[in-house]
């Protein structure tokens, strides 16, 4: 019976175009009512203008399900073989912190991407685009579930892994910054902005850092589980990321200035996210013996070369702040890591103090910028030498730090000699932003951002405690058990104590 049914199915070529691109002329409602501009996005074009929308790689639902089932089976088998507590216990402690950083910041972000893709699956302006976005939503659901399934096993062993699920439900400062970016990127965006920001900039422009660069790192530290998980996810991303370019090309044809604006805005916002999540994992949390290319070298190869070529292919210019981006590439994640290390109780993973070998490697990889950063580590190292191990607070800040009103990240842009933060006034309210691009983004759409209070303004409004210990415990949701500490409690053979 089944064989007969399968035999009756027409060849793929005979029906796929009709199935994947199911569009018709509505007769009961107007096209504007069916696809309202505020939800479907700008520019709002007549249906016939979208008719030639085309994704390069086409698939059917049957093929999708069959392929995904095989991939799921492979990941689950890998988890059974390599996802036990004892497997994670064998990994370097620093690398485990890299896993905790990724495990917290990505799964629920992927879930937000489910929502964004489902919106595109309904309000995208072309049938084939909607089909691809529906597959994209299923992909992102998978990317939510995989890390949750893997990390759930580890919570009983190490409570910091609980932040895999808890992170985005807290008011930890990193979670606030993450939500500020991802809510706009994935939950609030219309399908056009989603396609350009997420599919083109985030996925095509940046995720090779994860799927190639970080997967290579996972391989070199012996973390086959993380390596194979990334590779499995990458195959999904490569398929649905292709939504971006045909949407971008359509917007360029009708409103090139808007297309350039979206590229400029989202490249900067995505860059800062990856600088923290990937940059810190590559240059600090990976054991120095397992590092090959630096984060900057990966960005040079996998972001700059390819992304600039992609922009040129569609006739767009590099973002206007390109020189500032190149400068930040040598400094920003170093500034953030030094800030985070000296406020490590405000996050959910432990951090290593860079030792002589790390600092020599960083000096070699960042010859132009490291000399300004290194004295900070000399100072912190010297302070560790003045106290016994485990006296965390002597190398920990106790003063609230400033946050950018746009990106919600600590004020770390620029260099130790020239921090680029600036105070701006919006609707009579003074706020601080960390950089000229963040100021530009804020002022382009003030109504979108002005209502959001950064942590400093929450403290000043009495909504969050000003005392750091109270802030960490009562507002960020951390406890002495799970808040970040020095990875070795300050016990490093190269620290001299009297």
């Amino acid at each position: 019976m089944l064989a007969g049914m399968i035999g009756a199915v027409r060849p793929r070529a005979g029906w796929q175009d009709l199935a994947r691109k199911l569009d018709w002329t509505p007769s009961y409602v107007s096209p504007h009512a069916l696809f309202p501009e505020p939800i479907s996005g700008t520019p709002w074009l007549p249906q016939e203008d979208w008719a030639d929308w085309d994704e390069p790689y086409k698939t059917t639902f049957a093929e999708y399900v069959a392929t995904q089932a095989v991939k799921e089976g492979a990941v689950l088998a890998l988890r059974d073989a390599l996802g036990r507590v004892e497997d994670f216990a064998k990994l370097d402690k620093g690398w485990r912190s890299a896993i905790k950083l990724h495990a917290a910041t990505l799964p629920l972000a992927e879930f937000a991407a489910v929502v964004g893709n489902l919106r595109a699956g309904r309000f995208g302006r072309d049938g084939a685009w909607r089909t691809m976005a529906t597959f994209g939503a299923l992909d992102e659901l998978r990317h939510t579930q995989i890390p949750l399934a893997i990390m759930a096993e580890l919570v009983r062993w190490d409570p910091q892994f609980d932040w895999t699920h808890r992170f985005f439900h807290t008011n930890d400062w990193v979670a606030i910054a993450g939500r500020h970016l991802l809510d706009e990127l994935l939950l609030a965006s219309n399908p056009i902005e989603l396609a350009i920001a997420t599919n083109f900039v985030f996925e095509t422009g940046f995720t090779n850092l994860q799927f190639i660069g970080l997967a290579a790192r996972a391989h070199s530290v012996g973390d086959r589980m993380f390596e194979k998980t990334l590779q499995s996810i990458q195959t999904d991303e490569a398929r649905h990321a292709q939504i971006g370019r045909p949407v971008l090309e359509k917007v360029i044809r009708h409103d090139p200035a808007y297309a350039q604006y979206l590229i400029d805005k989202w490249f900067w916002r995505c860059w800062m996210f990856f600088a923290i999540v990937t940059g810190i994992a590559m240059d600090y949390l990976t054991p120095v013996a397992d590092r090959t290319l630096s984060f900057k070298e990966f960005v040079d190869e996998w972001v700059i070369d390819q992304f600039v070529r992609s922009l040129a292919d569609v006739g767009l210019a590099k973002p206007w702040y390109w020189d500032q981006f190149l400068a930040a590439l040598g400094s920003y994640h170093h500034m953030v890591y030094a800030s985070a290390y000296t406020h490590r109780a405000t996050v959910w993973f432990d951090m290593p103090l860079p030792g002589p070998a790390d600092r020599a490697w960083l000096a070699d990889k960042y010859p132009a910028t490291w000399p300004a950063i290194d004295p900070i580590w000399s100072r912190v190292t010297a302070r560790w030498g003045e106290v016994e191990p485990d006296v965390e607070w002597y190398t920990h800040g106790v003063t609230p730090v400033g946050f950018c009103a746009l990106c919600q990240i600590v004020l770390c842009n620029g260099t130790p000699t020239a921090n680029t933060a600036r105070a701006i006034e919006v609707d009579g309210r003074k706020v601080m932003v960390c950089s000229e691009p963040c100021e530009w983004i804020f002022k382009k759409e003030p109504a979108r951002y002005a209502g959001h209070k950064d942590i400093v303004h929450r403290i000043l409004a009495g909504e969050a405690p000003g005392n750091l210990i109270a802030l960490v415990q009562q507002y960020f949701g951390l406890t002495p058990t799970d808040w970040g500490k020095d990875l070795e409690g300050g016990r490093y053979p190269w620290i001299t104590r009297p």
Binding site: I376, V380, G397, V401, G402, V410, K430
Partner: protein, 83 residues
């Protein structure tokens, strides 16, 4: 007893990696800003020998009263080694 009014400022110490929020008494002198910021960043930056305070591109006299300095809440203040 009345508590003295404090002014929140964004402080940037030369050599540091981030901006800090410091609270200084409104009736203090400009020098108190330098003292407070240097103490707040002591984990990362060694105390400056001769700190100078800059606001809106101008170097301020450390003996000047903050109230007379033109500094307003949530302004950016830079503290650097005096030239």
């Amino acid at each position: 007893m009345d508590h003295p009014t404090v002014i929140p400022l964004y402080g940037f110490l030369a050599g540091d990696c981030l901006g800090l929020v410091i609270l200084v008494p409104a009736d203090a002198k400009v020098g108190a800003i330098a003292t407070t910021l240097i103490e707040a960043a002591i984990t990362r930056v060694a105390p400056l020998a001769r700190p100078a305070v800059f606001h809106a591109g101008k170097r301020l006299d450390l003996e000047l009263a903050i109230a007379a300095s033109g500094i307003a809440p949530l302004d950016r203040i830079d503290v650097r080694e005096a030239p």
